[in-house]
């Protein structure tokens, strides 16, 4: 009898819906029926509303089913679906699904497809081609490829990656470092986590290319503690890559080391700010540093340090494999390449959507997302994490592009989009933004430390209907001070969600607590 091969994701999203129970159910069912079974664990394709999404190896390739619960397993066997017959949960070939066909997956091409911890799977799907090419070039030529690609920092700031690499490359020092910022704390984002759990060698390869290009022999991955599954996969991937010689003592040739270490954060959102992250790696309180000096010249332990986001490093293997121009051929304006968009919140079909820049928000939220999960009208969408602006439904025709969004009082951030239906109370969301800002402030500068606390209090008064006009004026004044006077982007951006909520949804701020639009809608 031929062995039944089943692919079941081990991505945290699938695990959160009981993927482990599904593994057990398949094992039991196959044993009871005397069918030899091979269960392979993979990452997620990023179609979370279909998780756990499993695939069965057939003569015509891998066929997807989802969402599959343990109680569905007997029917999958009984109906002959595993051999190709129809089944209500059958999705067909995952790559042929509309959601996937409409994407341009460069970074996430392998995620969900390969065994994340199989070096041979990775190499079969173009893995390490970029690093091989890079090692055949001079470091300066590698930097030039990244510059030519037009890649901009995917962490949120959108700084040209090639320029940062060149700065570290040109710096003179006895030691240099590369750091991967995997402190993915923004609500509504999970692309970094998916890379860790679905294609960790891609990140290792990207960091190795970066280390070679800038002349660093040591790399750190700083991962947040809220991602225990990701930490386990990456720890194993680093060990495997080292055993295979891709990193380690002789990574770039005899006597040319690149050692990589994963460090785990400890529950501080501010560590996503690069200087706070560096302080944390050094073992200190994560207080942001004043810039200049920039980390590229004076970073970890005072040495030139390249700090990039997971998705920036993850884009690099493709760039070095196919050339910078191939990456730059995607995108619009000054936003080149693809952006892994993370669609979340109250949305029917949430997940990971990798697309060239330039698509409208509406195509993402309505086209891919299918509107709200609750079936109610969309009222607000937050782009770019907790410090990103809220936009209205009518602004969904804006394009995903760094400059277009900036010109319209929004920012792309790490590419997270959170959808809210018409029961959302925007004054409450504004208060939440201030409270979050206060809770996660490192406390170094006054505008952020005290401003965010006072901002929460003022918003509470506005919500309670106390001297609303005067308190709104006070809130605006406070936001001015925070924007202009904060040391880092944390305090500087907290006013973003607050003011966008206030300006675009004023009706939620001007009435007593019982009269807001949200209250009316919820009461219907």
């Amino acid at each position: 009898m031929t062995t039944l091969t089943v692919y079941i994701p081990a991505d945290a999203a699938a695990l959160s819906l009981g993927a482990e129970r599904l593994v057990a159910a398949f094992g039991r069912e196959a044993e009871a029926r005397g069918v030899p079974i091979d269960i392979k664990r993979v990452g997620s394709h990023g179609m979370f509303w279909l998780e756990p999404l499993i695939e069965i190896e057939t003569l015509k390739g891998r066929v997807g089913f989802g969402p599959v619960r343990p109680e569905d397993v007997p029917s999958l066997f009984d109906s002959g679906a595993l051999a190709g017959a129809e089944h209500p949960l059958k999705l067909g070939h995952v790559a042929d699904m509309v959601w996937m066909l409409r994407q341009q997956r460069l970074t996430f091409a392998r995620c969900g497809v390969i065994d994340p911890l199989s070096l041979s799977d990775y190499e079969e799907k173009d893995g390490f081609r970029g690093l091989r090419n890079a090692l055949a070039m001079s470091p300066a030529e590698v930097v030039e490829q990244v510059r030519a690609s037009g890649l901009r920092g995917r962490g949120g700031a959108g700084f040209p990656t090639g320029i940062k690499w060149k700065t570290v490359h040109d710096a003179q020092a006895d030691r240099k470092y590369v750091i991967c910022n995997a402190d993915e704390g923004d609500s509504g984002t999970f692309a970094d986590r998916m890379v860790f759990e679905g294609d960790p060698f891609m990140l290792i390869e990207g960091m190795a290319i970066a280390a070679y290009a800038v002349g660093a022999d040591k790399g750190f991955i700083y991962l947040r503690s809220e991602y225990p599954h990701a930490a386990k996969v990456m720890a194993r991937a680093i060990a495997l890559a080292e055993q295979a010689g891709w990193i380690g003592e002789n990574a770039f040739g005899p006597g040319k080391p690149f050692c990589l270490e994963q460090r785990i954060g400890a529950g501080a959102y501010i560590c996503g700010e690069e200087t706070a992250l560096i302080e944390s790696l050094e073992g200190k309180r994560a207080l942001v540093r004043a810039k200049p000096p920039i980390p590229a010249l004076h970073g970890l332990f005072g040495r030139p340090t390249l700090v990039n986001n997971v998705l920036s490093f993850a884009a690099v293997p493709f760039i070095l494999a196919e050339g910078g121009q191939a990456y730059a051929d995607f995108g619009s304006g000054k936003s080149r390449g693809t952006l892994p968009v993370q669609l979340a919140g109250n949305v029917q079909r949430g997940g990971l959507i990798e697309l060239a820049f330039g698509i409208t928000l509406r195509e993402i939220v309505e086209g891919f997302g299918g509107g709200t999960a609750s079936g109610r009208p969309i009222r607000a969408v937050q782009i770019g994490g907790p410090l990103g602006a809220y936009i209205t439904e009518s602004q969904l025709d804006l394009e995903m592009d760094y400059e277009v969004l900036a010109a319209n009082g929004a920012m792309l951030g790490h590419g997270g989009i959170v959808v809210f239906d018409d029961t959302v109370d925007m004054a409450k969301m504004a208060k939440f933004a201030m409270r979050f800002g206060a809770e996660e402030s490192c406390g170094k500068c006054t505008p952020c430390r005290i401003g965010a606390t006072r901002g929460g209090e003022v918003l509470q008064k506005i919500i309670a209907g106390e001297r609303v006009e005067q308190n709104i004026a006070l809130l605006r004044d406070l936001c001015d001070v925070m924007t202009a006077g904060s040391l880092c982007a944390h305090g500087g951006l907290v006013p973003n969600p607050v003011l966008s909520a206030l300006n675009r949804f004023p009706e939620d701020f001007s009435k007593g607590p019982q009269e807001t639009v949200a209250h009316k809608n919820a009461a219907e």
Partner: protein, 161 residues
């Protein structure tokens, strides 16, 4: 999750020494101590300070900055419940409120019958909220029932004070 050990000074010293050669060793050391003992005992501060040749104030400063590090022995198990925007958009706030009313367990209010529920901002499962993290395991698409079941499990597994 393995049951945390009682405070044991030689063991603590060994943990500190094992990592003190790392570049920037303090966070890894604090993580190891917490994993072993369930918290970072104040008595560890002087040991670390001595081993790393830094002041006790610096060690305490770091220890007290990060939310993850507990300075007191936990009185049971901890559930981390996400209340960030994406989970709020999926009803996490209302879920939390109903949970508090039903169980009398106040979120961020310390241990109640061997369980503590702590707010966390984002567990990276934002299309499938509300979410909780317990014992290194992620729970998505929480409902009143599944959260109650998780709470009951934590209460069962909670170490007696």
């Amino acid at each position: 999750m393995e049951k945390p050990l009682a405070w044991d000074e030689p063991r603590a010293k060994a943990l500190v020494d094992a990592k003190s050669g790392l570049e920037g060793p303090l966070l890894p050391i604090l993580h190891d101590l917490q994993e072993t003992f369930g918290y970072v005992d104040p008595r560890a501060v002087a040991i670390i300070a001595g081993a790393l040749n830094v002041s006790r104030a610096e060690v305490f400063g770091t220890l007290s900055f990060y939310k993850d590090f507990k300075k007191q022995k936990p009185l049971g198990r901890t559930i981390k419940l996400c209340l960030a925007e994406a989970c709020q958009a999926r009803g996490a706030d209302a879920l939390a409120e109903r949970f508090e009313t039903k169980t009398g367990c106040k979120i961020d209010g310390g241990f109640h019958q061997g369980v503590e529920v702590e707010t966390v901002y984002c567990l990276g499962n934002c299309a499938l909220g509300p979410n909780a993290l317990y014992d290194g395991e992620l729970f998505g698409a929480l409902t009143d029932e599944s959260l109650a079941a998780l709470h009951a499990r934590a209460a069962r597994e909670g170490v007696a004070p």
